[in-house]
Amino acid sequence: MAELEASTTAGARRARPISPHLQIYRPMLTMMMSIVHRITGAALYFGFLLLAWWLIAAASGPNAYANFEWFIGSFIGRVVLFGYTWALLHHMLGGIRHLIWDTLHGFEPAEREWLTLATIVGSITLTVLVWIVGYLAMGGPR
């Protein structure tokens, strides 16, 4: 028994092999986009408050709606709305990518890199496009 205790205390001091975690791997686009998908999902979760405020303000009357319009038209409001637009489109394209993967397609190295790149380039392009259309619908920036 004493022998066993001696060997375990000696073993505790020795460096034990540990299982590798995220920080041991070289960052890759696919793993970055994986965590960004989760982050945009969580952002949209709290962004639902913005949607709720918008609809409740519209249902409450002109004054409440004016307050919402004042906020969303302010610099911070526009940054938040731009972020919401991007998060929504990025999560949407990332979701489509996951649906493609669910059919067991697109797992070759070149394919998954291409899909991942398309998600980030596509989401930024679409966000800018949606905002250009939005400003055109309002008759130019104000």
Binding site: F48, L55, A58, A59, L99, D102, A137
Partner: protein, 132 residues
């Protein structure tokens, strides 16, 4: 144990039920896929509706939001998104929160939040639709 893999840890009853340790099987996994497919279409609808409302007066905005097609699409977006984000946040919580009390509290808060924002938003749309 005929036909069972030698490394199989589950009892035959567990295997027959096929529900796994969460006792709910793959239900949430599948629901998340269904709501994501619907979410693609409904998110596009939301963006179109939001652009149509830009720069309009309160009266004009209310008229658009209260029209049946827009109201129905908004309600579908609200219900679909609330369920999708409830499953998603639950998955995030189960991944990162391991302490029992904190886990229970976060899961409760997740359910309360999703129900609250969904019902508040849906109520606003219904009030606009029926109130005109």
């Amino acid at each position: 144990m005929i036909g069972q893999h030698p490394n199989e840890m589950r009892t035959p009853m567990r295997r027959v039920r096929g529900l796994g340790p969460a006792h709910t099987g793959t239900g949430h996994f599948w629901h998340q896929r269904v709501t994501s497919a619907a979410g693609v279409l409904l998110s596009i609808a939301l963006i179109v509706i939001a652009i149509a409302l830009l720069g309009r007066s309160h009266a004009a905005a209310v008229q658009i939001l209260a029209s049946p097609l827009v109201a129905i699409l908004m309600l579908l977006f609200i219900v679909n998104s609330a369920y999708h984000m409830w499953i998603g946040m639950q998955e995030i919580i189960l991944d990162y929160v391991h302490e029992d009390k904190a886990k229970l509290f976060s899961l409760l808060a997740n359910t309360f939040f999703c129900f609250a924002v969904a019902f508040a938003s849906a109520f606003a749309i219904l009030k606009l639709s029926f109130g005109v």
